[in-house]
């Protein structure tokens, strides 16, 4: 039988010709290593307690390939004044709404300067709009949120931008009720975000003027199909004329809508519930805007995952235009000229779609002639 503990766990670091070097010279080195690991694993909590991380820094750490979070950060933390209408969501709605045009029409309707903004981002995930709204509503009043849920792939856990934007200790209410695997994913995201938070705390990151300031956040892609800039052609077909009543979901128009009764992944559903709850608490009007995607162009009905009004109550408004009606009179090539890929409108489509839904938006938005 070999002697028990013949080979020591810790040694002088050299090892013998027969045994591997010990991981640590001394027991104390091992303890320090454990302390370091523990500190790093607890870094989201520790940096939060020490005030080294803050919500503004989280937006500053977002890379541009996930969206222009500089613009979103400025809207949340730097701009003042109430927002009449906020268009919020992933790239599908981001590229679908001509925000200045809506602002102009709404101002005319209200008889005062209206404030309309789009806060869009890349990649799907309802965690992101929830976090943006939570931060925005802590700083500014918003009257109406127009939200859109794309028919696309969803992550089972935190979305790519959601992973980078959230910090585990920042939203305890919503995180507390998440499934354990989502909690762990989110915590891991926060641990990985700590180095950037500490860097932001150590030096002021350079910010530049957002390219979306002039367009009030609207994304007008100058791209042809397959996101090819060379195939983009300016194309301005006359937009179809719809009455507001035709586009807003009601007993009269329910035949125009098709609900798949399909639930999103549990994580996303959780954030959707939290988002709606947050808006109710803050007395913010919620409109679900259906943005048609190119592959739905032959559909006679507005296709949605669920009947959001039935789920969240009559205070919620649904707006949508059946794709076949929207693209009526346009052949396949002309329809493609309005898109930069199968999911997104380009500049042409942005203006075309906005004009089509304008009456419904103006009708649905709660009108307040005075700006309190």
């Amino acid at each position: 039988m070999p002697d028990i503990h013949k080979t020591a766990l810790f040694d002088n670091g050299i090892g013998s010709t027969h045994t591997p070097r010990a991981a640590f010279l001394r027991r104390s080195s091992a303890l320090w290593f454990l302390v370091l690991l523990a500190a790093l694993l607890l870094s989201p909590v520790l940096s939060n307690k020490a005030g080294l991380s803050n919500r503004s820094a989280a937006y500053r750490s977002m890379p541009m390939n996930l969206g222009d979070y500089s613009f979103i950060r400025q809207q949340i933390f730097e701009k003042k004044g109430d927002i009449d209408v906020l268009f919020l969501g992933a790239s599908v709605i981001w590229s679908a709404v001509d925000t200045p045009r809506v602002q102009k029409e709404l101002s005319r309707k209200l008889g005062r300067p209206a404030n309309v903004v789009t806060l869009g981002f890349l990649f799907n995930g309802i965690d992101v709009p929830y976090v943006i709204l939570k931060d925005l509503l802590a700083n500014r009043k918003v009257r109406t949120v127009v939200f859109s849920i794309p028919r696309d792939d969803w992550t089972l856990g935190p979305s790519i931008p959601g992973c980078k934007l959230q910090r585990y200790p920042d939203f305890p209410d919503v995180v507390e009720e998440l499934p354990l695997d989502s909690k762990l994913s989110l915590y891991a995201c926060s641990v990985l975000a700590t180095p950037h938070d500490l860097l932001s705390a150590a030096r002021e990151p350079i910010d530049r003027r957002s390219e979306f300031e002039d367009s009030l956040g609207a994304k007008k892609e100058v791209l042809g199909m397959d996101r090819d800039p060379d195939t983009f052609v300016r194309f301005r077909p006359p937009p179809p004329q719809f009455t507001a009543e035709l586009l807003i979901y009601s007993d009269k128009t329910k035949e125009n809508f098709s609900f798949k009764d399909q639930r999103l992944p549990e994580y996303q559903e959780h954030y959707l519930d939290a988002l709606v709850e947050l808006l109710k608490e803050q007395d913010v009007q919620l409109i679900f805007l259906n943005v048609p995607q190119l592959f739905e162009r032959e559909s006679d009905k507005v296709i949605e995952y669920q009947n959001w009004q039935a789920r969240f109550g009559p205070g919620v408004t649904l707006i949508g235009v059946p794709p076949r009606k929207l693209f009526a009179g346009l052949d396949e090539h002309s329809t493609e000229l309005l898109h930069c890929d199968i999911d997104h409108f380009n500049w042409n489509g942005n203006e075309f779609f906005t004009e089509a839904i304008m009456p419904a938006i103006l009708e649905a938005v709660k009108h307040e002639k005075t700006n309190p």
Binding site: P2, D3, I4, H5, K6, T7, A8, L9, G15, T17, H18, T19, P20, R21, A22, A23, F24, A30, F33, L37, L40, M62, P63, M64, N65, S70, V191, L192, A193, T194, P195, H196, L199, R203, P205, I206, R208
Partner: protein, 432 residues
């Protein structure tokens, strides 16, 4: 290997079966079983290799045909390595240039696959195969080639006896060091295979090495990478010069944690089998000059380069041109050594430049030492070397030099352009 639970399961199977094989008293049974176990598990793990595409899939999920094709190719890989054994046996102890054929064979295979991979393209096209198929087959070739060529010299210089075929294949395909080294000499490998010094302390020590290595490789390296070049400069935002310093320092830290972490795991796994693998790192951040750095960083590669290139080439040059030209001979040899080290890391000018920068660092240090010895005298030089202040300055300067050198190693030409634009232009444009 991105499926961690499966990887751990396969690894556990490997450890149990290989440990059982090593318990067999008869070497005639033990060594072949050891070789078979290693080859089988290398083949099994290589089936998890993901080819690079938009939606990478492990080979095992590509269907029966792909799996059979892959296993046949791995079989051919084993045959090619076996041919190296035939050359070793026939030529290693012969006189003249013949041993160099055996020595060069593994390196030639490496060069053919790593640097002339385009030469295979017509054949691959004819077979209708993608490029990744060969890459997925010859896993671990870089490290294996260096180990096997070194083995030829160990046999020739009578450091070890001529191995049996099974000992050779067991060494060549030794799973823990296949992918990332260290480049373990056969003498160390074989000695620990033959000795029975495995005890509970040895087991605990090996297990702790794996745990620490996993913490470094999976966790700490990922954290450090958040502030390296990729973590900072690819966000398409403007950055100040200070960010370049932060990225450079954290890239060095990331590289150390990543590479030393996986070497810790390899050494620990080998340790669980009672097989010793030489160390690859020894506190490189504390190096006081570039020569010292290479005694602390990727040690097994430095030792290989010293024994296989530096010693014979410098001796040859000094013999050929006389001792009057010793300094010139050492300078040339150092450049050759570091060029080889540079291009061994990867194909392209930036890896060669990395080698040249380090050669310049070693040669600069060599001439600076000669200068100091002349200027300060023997006693003065001894005092200089013992000065704490000089030591601190030297360590910081070496750290800065190595950190800067890794900028060409870490970033492609395009990425260097992106970094330059992010700092000078304040916005993201492609470096091309």
């Amino acid at each position: 290997m991105s499926n961690l639970p499966l990887f751990i399961l396969v690894l556990a199977g490997y450890l149990i079966l290989t440990r059982i094989a090593l318990k067999i008293p008869s070497a005639k049974v033990r060594l072949p079983l050891f070789a078979i176990s290693n080859i089988a598990f290398v083949a099994l793990l290589s089936l998890q290799t993901r080819y690079h595409d938009w939606e990478p899939e492990p080979i095992i999920s590509l269907g029966q045909e792909a799996v059979i094709r892959h296993l046949v190719l791995v079989g051919m890989y084993v045959l090619a390595v076996t041919f190296g054994y035939v050359l070793l046996r026939k030529l290693a102890k012969r006189s003249g240039a013949l041993p160099w054929i055996a020595f060069s064979y593994p390196l030639l295979i490496l060069v053919l696959f790593k640097y002339f991979y385009f030469a295979w393209e017509p054949l691959l096209d004819r077979l209708g195969w993608d490029d990744w198929i060969l890459t997925a087959t010859v896993i671990g070739l870089s490290y294996m080639a260096f180990r096997l060529s070194s083995l030829v010299l160990e046999v020739r210089n009578e450091i070890v006896e001529m191995p049996t075929l099974s000992a050779y294949l067991g060494f060549a395909f030794f799973l823990p060091t296949m992918i990332v080294g260290p480049i373990n000499p056969f003498s160390v490998h074989q000695r620990s295979l033959e000795s029975d010094n495995f005890d509970s302390g040895y087991f605990a020590r090996s297990f702790l090495r794996i745990a620490v290595g996993a913490a470094k490789f999976l966790f700490l390296a990922n954290l450090a990478n958040q502030l390296s070049y990729a973590g900072i400069f690819l966000d398409q935002k403007p950055h100040g010069p200070i960010d370049l310093v932060v990225a450079a320092v954290f890239y060095y830290i990331f590289l150390y944690l990543n590479f030393s972490g996986i070497c810790d795991i390899a050494i620990g796994i080998a340790g669980l089998l009672g097989i010793r693998v030489i160390e690859n790192f020894d506190n490189p951040f504390l190096a006081r000059n570039i020569k010292d750095f290479w005694n602390r960083w990727h040690i097994s590669l430095s030792v290989w380069a010293r024994d296989i290139i530096f010693s014979p080439l410098s001796k040859y040059l000094i013999r050929r041109f006389g001792t009057r030209h010793t300094n010139a001979g050492l300078t040339v040899t150092t450049f050759v050594v570091f060029l080889v080290i540079g291009v061994w890391h990867g194909v392209g000018w930036r890896f060669a430049l990395f080698g040249v920068i380090h050669a310049a660092g070693v040669i600069g240090n060599y001439y600076y030492t000669i200068f100091l010895k002349k200027r300060l005298g023997k006693e003065g030089f001894r005092k200089y070397n013992k000065s704490r202040l000089v030591h601190v300055i030297a360590v910081v300067a070496t750290f800065a030099y190595v950190t800067a050198s890794f900028s060409v190693f870490a970033n492609s030409y395009n990425q260097l352009g992106i970094i330059k634009n992010a700092i000078t232009e304040g916005f993201f444009i492609s470096g091309n």
